[in-house]
Every structure is written in structure tokens, then in C-alpha cells.
Subunit: 283 residues, 2 copies
């Protein structure tokens, strides 16, 4: 596996791949890789000739009081994992390489899909995501890119700016990977104490119950929200940030679920904020 | 010459060109073509295998009280001109094709290069320019693109987001084309009465004087600005919008010109706002 740290190195690698008529699959990550990431890599391997992973903790998508500094980093372990699943090249740039002095261009996605959920709770987050992902798309000239459903709103935002700005990349959403006990895999799970980790199981359990209720005919957003809220509030260590249900993929408000809906939640356990979701009518 | 009106048509045209191993040159325009535009086309012909021109009066770069509705349009005349200089394809989309229902993604360039000159006078203008040009770059997969120095700040902005967002296109600035009497060619010259047109010659004359003064050793921005201002104020029909001098291409303030500097001005004649510029030390 090639380790590339500059934009120029990636562009030269990409030129050779394109010249050979091969397709490129990209999996952007912030490192601290777990099985969820490796599942994305395997999807990319299956659907593209050459797979590039990026490992970059992107400063522009963190708010001033968020966990940018604390975010887990471990590049050599990440490389071993990427190598083990057959990734062809990893792009691991410095912040200065991505945002040189005088940096000033951003991609923004306004409106209904960013003014709620994590978009409302983390101002500037999706501008940071859209900008870094645009850069990675341009640097790698990816034909296909793979993102986890764990960050469902992120996927909606990325698909939107790819469509709006007419980018030439196919964006694929890969289902959430969960531990055996149901906890959605996340690099931030490392922050949790054993007690918090156990308490956090309430997230997947409540989403599972919502799925069950939906399948047995409950279509009212108010009722489904109440069901989840009640279950999570019963867990003493859980502090709810948001629990919301919107149409998927347009993230519009609705009273009764007609087709697909995203149930998304953000809940804090101690100082750790976890997100999880499920798509009703779509799984 | 092919006339293409949908994004899909252009993408299919582009795929065939790329498959044949040919390069693409793009010249974005808002139509109402004059010799300045045709000079851009000839530059593109000389530097790329296949030339695509776009003709699109982009609504997102006009302010609410600007001349979007009045902006001159004449697509069949434009086509004749494009055909005559050997342009291979023209992209002439509707506003709905470019900005479909639910459109919400934009490219922004913040900071020093957009907070002055036309960026200060036309809020949102460069966001509209950056967005539509990004779309055109993605739609056409242009290897090279050509823009006129007439809109020098626009070129600076485009070069900046191309660099910052790591786009794979080479941006070329082509010198201003002037009528024999010195007036910089512009689609907006059509708005001028004969009297105003004659008065507008003060713009190129004052820029020429500034060049002369600079070449004979005058490097003080204050003095050069005063020289131009005095000359333009002596023309009764001229109402100055701005006359400014900044370093080029970073558009930073300076007192003494060390290397290259952009002298840019916007002046109204009646209801028509004209811009013109010259680069000191660079021409």
C-alpha cells in the first residue's frame, strides 16, 4: 500500500491509474479505524479497480468547543488495517497541505437538509465536511466514493452538493456496522467508560423498537418519537441532544411516515456525544 | 457546432472527447458576444483540442437591483459568431437545468480577495460566479478555461477556489480587448447612448495615463489614485463607483507598488455601470 502525504503525490498516482483505464474508489476517513471503516473499504474494493483511503482529522468540521484535539489518532495501526483489506493507497496529509496559508474557498449546503439535526447542533460542521470532501473528490478524481450510514445526514449533504455542483462521482451509502451487542461502531466509543458503554446500548435498542413499531403499523412521527424518547430517558446516564424523525433523503418534516424516514438521534453519555440512526421503510 | 442544452448532453459529449484522448478548453460567457469573447475562443482553440463555450446569463451572480432582466441576449447571433471561430460545442442551458428545484449548494470565496472592489459593491456576486463556474468546470471536465482580464477580480477569485479546492483545470487570463478608441469591449456597452460612450473613453485614457506615470517612476498608490480620480471627475457624465489599486494577484492594500498592482475602476455613465482595469508592472 502506498502512503501519500501531498496532493501532488496523489494527483500523480491518480494520473497513472486513469491512464491505465482503471476506476478509482475513495473512502474518506478521520482515522481511528474500526470494522465500520473496513466494511467501507471492502465495498470500495468490490466496486472499483483501485481504492484510495484518506486519513485526515479535518479541523474545519470541528467547532471551537468540540473534540478536535482529543479525537483518537493512530496512523500506523490504521495503515496495518487498510493494508489488510487490500487498500491500494492511503492519503494522509497535514492540515497545512489541505489548508495552506491564505486558504479561503468553501463549499456550503444551505437550507432544509443542513438546518436540523447535527447541522443545527454543530454550526459550520457541514461546511467543513462539504469542503474537505470536495477537495478529496478533486484530488483523487474518484469515480465512486463510500460513506457510512452512521453519518446519514452527512451522506444526504454530500449527495446534494455532488448533484447540485454536477460532480462526476457516484456517492454510495453503506449500512451501519454494529458490535454484537448492538452499539454502532464509532471512533468516539473509545471515550466511553465501561458503564457508559453499557448505558449506550439504549440507543440501538430504542431504534430497534421504533423499527418494530413502524413495521407493525405505527406511522405517526409524534408517537414514534415519544416511544424512543421514553426509552432513552429511562437510562440515567443518557442526556438527549436530539431525537428526530424526517423524511429520507430530503429531511423534511412530516406527521405520518409515507415512504422512508430517518430516525436520527444524538445522545451524550458523560462528555461523549454519540449519534445513531435507522431508516424506517428503507431497511 | 453542436448546440447542447442539458447537462446530460454535455457529459455525453465530454465522455466521447475524453475517450479519444483529447483535451477540452472551456470559455464561459453570458452571451451577447463581442470581439473580446471571440478572442477568448481563439485562445482556447490554440490551446485545447476541443472547445466548449457556454452561453448562460447566470441569475445567481446578479443582485436584486441589477440588470439581470435587461442583460442583452441573442443566442442565434451568438451561435453564428461561435461557429465562425471554430468552437466545437456551445452549452446553452435554462436556469432550471442549472438550478433545479431544491438547489442549495454554493462555492464561496471569503476574505481579502472578495471583500473589495466588485465584491464589496455587489454582495453575493462572486458566490454566484464561483458556483456557476464550478458547475461548468464539473460538467465539461475542462482541462483549460479562459477568462478575460476585463473581469480581473473574477479571474483572481476563480484561480483561488480552483487552487483551494484542488480542481483539475488550468485557468488562463486573456488581456482586455479594446475598441480602436480605447473603450474596453463589454456587452453592457450596448446600454450607452452615443454621448455616454464618448464620455466613457475617460476610463481607458485615465488607465493609460496611470501606466505612463507608473513607468516613469510614480509608485505611490495615493498619487496614482489621485491622478486617475482627477481625470475621471473632470468628465461630467462620469459617476465614480470605485477607483482602487491593490497588489496583484493577492489584492492586498499597499502604499508603494513593489511588483504588480491592479488598478481597477467602476464608473457609472447614466444608469450603466462600466468596469475597466490595468495591471501596473505586469503589462
Amino acid at each position: 500500500m502506498k502512503v501519500l502525504t501531498t496532493v501532488a503525490e496523489v494527483k500523480s498516482f491518480v494520473r497513472a491509474v486513469k491512464k491505465a483505464g482503471k476506476t478509482i474508489g475513495l473512502v474518506p476517513t478521520m482515522g481511528a479505524l474500526h470494522e465500520g471503516h473496513l466494511t467501507l473499504m471492502r465495498h470500495a474494493k468490490k466496486n472499483a479497480d483501485v481504492v484510495i483511503a484518506s486519513v485526515f482529522v479535518n479541523p474545519t468540521q470541528f467547532g471551537p468547543n468540540e473534540d478536535f484535539d482529543a479525537y483518537p489518532r493512530g496512523f500506523s495501526r490504521d495503515c496495518e488495517k487498510l493494508d489488510s483489506v487490500g487498500v491500494d493507497a492511503v492519503f494522509h496529509p497535514s492540515a497545512e497541505e489541505m489548508y495552506p496559508k491564505g486558504y479561503t474557498a468553501y463549499v456550503t449546503v444551505d437550507g432544509d437538509i443542513t438546518n436540523k439535526l447535527c447541522g443545527a447542533k454543530r454550526p459550520g460542521h457541514f461546511r467543513g465536511v462539504a469542503t474537505v470532501v470536495t477537495k478529496l473528490f478533486n484530488i483523487t478524481e474518484a469515480d465512486k466514493a463510500f460513506f457510512g450510514q452512521k453519518d446519514a445526514q452527512q451522506v444526504v449533504v454530500i449527495k446534494r452538493f455532488v448533484r447540485d455542483l454536477n460532480m462526476n462521482v457516484e456517492v454510495n451509502m453503506v449500512p451501519i456496522v454494529r458490535a454484537e451487542d448492538g452499539l454502532a461502531l464509532s471512533s468516539r466509543n473509545k471515550y466511553l467508560s465501561d458503564k457508559e458503554k453499557k448505558a449506550a446500548l439504549v440507543l440501538s435498542k430504542s431504534l430497534k423498537e421504533a423499527q418494530k413499531a413502524f413495521k407493525s403499523g405505527k406511522k405517526s412521527v409524534t408517537e414514534l418519537k415519544a416511544l424512543i424518547t421514553e426509552k432513552i430517558q429511562a437510562e440515567p446516564l443518557a442526556q438527549i441532544d436530539y431525537i428526530d424523525i424526517y423524511t429520507f433523503p430530503d429531511l423534511e418534516e412530516c406527521e405520518m411516515i409515507a415512504k422512508e424516514a430517518l430516525v436520527a438521534l444524538a445522545v451524550k453519555f458523560g462528555t461523549t456525544r454519540l449519534i445513531d440512526n435507522t431508516i424506517l421503510g428503507g431497511e
